[in-house]
Point group: C2
Amino acid sequence: MPADALSSALLPAGLHDVLPSEAAHEAAAVERLLAEFAAQGYRRVDPPLVEFEENLLSGPGAAMSKQTFRLMDPHSQRMMAVRADITPQIARIATTRLKNEARPLRLCYAGQVLRVKGSQLRPERQFTQVGVELIGALEAEADAEVVLLAVQALTAIGVPHLSVDLCVPTMVSRICAGLGLGEEEIRQLRGALDRKDAAAVAAVGGPAATLLESLMSASGPADRAMQALAALPLPEGAEKDRRRLTDTLALLRAAMPDLTVTVDLVEHRGFEYQTGLSFTLFSRAAGELGQGGRYRAGAQGEDRGEPATGFTLYMDTLLRAVPAAKAPGRVYVPHGSGWESARRLRAEGWVTVAGLAPVGDAAAEAKRLQCGHWLAGGDVKPVG
Amino acid sequence: MPADALSSALLPAGLHDVLPSEAAHEAAAVERLLAEFAAQGYRRVDPPLVEFEENLLSGPGAAMSKQTFRLMDPHSQRMMAVRADITPQIARIATTRLKNEARPLRLCYAGQVLRVKGSQLRPERQFTQVGVELIGALEAEADAEVVLLAVQALTAIGVPHLSVDLCVPTMVSRICAGLGLGEEEIRQLRGALDRKDAAAVAAVGGPAATLLESLMSASGPADRAMQALAALPLPEGAEKDRRRLTDTLALLRAAMPDLTVTVDLVEHRGFEYQTGLSFTLFSRAAGELGQGGRYRAGAQGEDRGEPATGFTLYMDTLLRAVPAAKAPGRVYVPHGSGWESARRLRAEGWVTVAGLAPVGDAAAEAKRLQCGHWLAGGDVKPVG
């Protein structure tokens, strides 16, 4: 929602009142998404808006430190933080309160997050995150499940022209490490790859240059990309990433043959804390709708914590891609018609708007109150 | 949810993780309440979690000042406040962004609020508020509409043994002022009435003593209370309150003859900012579920701003009174059963839990994953 002059005077930048039709639209979409998650066994949890800073910003949460508002807790005299991301909270719940629940553990959530600064792409400082986490499963089947679930849920709420971009953000570092490149060279290469700068990749790539250039040019529609990738000689560590990509894609194809899938073999940005197969969800109409991928729940580093994957959807972008449901018809029920007659209309699916005092022209009053119909005698009549 | 040892170590006092079954229970109840509000023409708005302090804590919002966390906004360099109550935000939206919408304006909301301290009665520092505001209507029909809507919505989510306690928190001051008592005497009388201390009322009541004692002893079941009230000689200002109480009760009786209604003629606590007919919603099982009443939206004082009424429900108390819906059956779908067979089961209303790898004993695996059933060949079988 673009801030109008009035709201920008009243509210801090990046914070908005969500007004009637849009608020209902968002609420309906969130509930439908959560219903899709629940239907596949994902159970809802609701962590609090605020936690102790040291818990919320440890491990993967540390990435959001600069984006996080702090509050002093007068009760404990400790600093608290307002969540800027819900994912670390779900990982915390899974690895503490629910650590004795059977694995894989399937959890989902919806809630508000608050950030210190908006970005150019997303000026909002508060938005609704909706997502799932699948904790304790290492299989490619788990990677495929969360991608398919995201696609299924987004399709259910009416997102058109959906596509999934798969990546394995660890692959480039594994290739470089396998070919003996040092940390500083890898960092420089990352920059060049992020800019899709083939000349710079060639210049600093050393023994990895040819391979990385091939990865860059192979990125695109999934089948072509995987064919090109299959022909490349990869060091051992990266071979694991290639196998996971191949297996996951096969599972996606088997479940949803018509899904548009692309593969980006050098993608890295936005996946700094991912440890394996990752993905971005796109709609041609609205751009990026959300992202997800593998991480370690409960601790950082590849061999610590529990294997986990999941995704987060950003409702602000997403709603731009989704048509609002048709609102049910509004009937003006004139003063004195009685509670029971209004109740009957609601049971038939109407929204009733009660007249609180007698009026001369009920049809005109209905129109003034944005009702398309009014109750005349016992009949619902359209407004003139 | 009582904090267990683990959560109290992890989270600040009064803040909780809402765990699976409870989170779904709350979400379903909130959505059902909002659907009931929407069916009577109340449209949802979602104000932000955070606003400029000077806006959020002006007017009726000032009451929550000590309960409100502050944040510095690095963008504007102004202080922001985390909402401790949603009602003032809805009044702000109605009188600014929606000031040109037709009156009466019907709005509803659901959201989280955060408070600096819990109370003895409600140790939680974060909870969900759900409510409605009816703005721009002076009629008794408006008072009755919000009471009836609250009752209807609470009944729809299964609250048993519901009762409504009506009061007019302005009546005592109007009686005292009408009989010439000063501010200090009124303040002392308020204290005595709050303690239901008849002796103190007699001692400090002066010319109002007899009348106030009659009001105290008349409080109780509505019909008896109203009969007693009708016989009392009231000063002019209080006469208006009596008439409103009588008219509203008559409207409630006409719509819901079986509703349990009590009247408290001296109630005042918790209604400091109310300017007319007010009410508390009770369930025998869970106690106080919410409250509401008349106020002035957009400004304080009886003759400023717009006339408004509404109510707020507290989900934490409320859920204790409401049985959770039966969860749909969970079916374990063994590895290799295929996406399509799981999809078919979901279409039949099952929750599907996919096996991510082959297992020897599918029935045992189903049980381990809290599924009551598993898919064997094409058939859903109960677990052992």
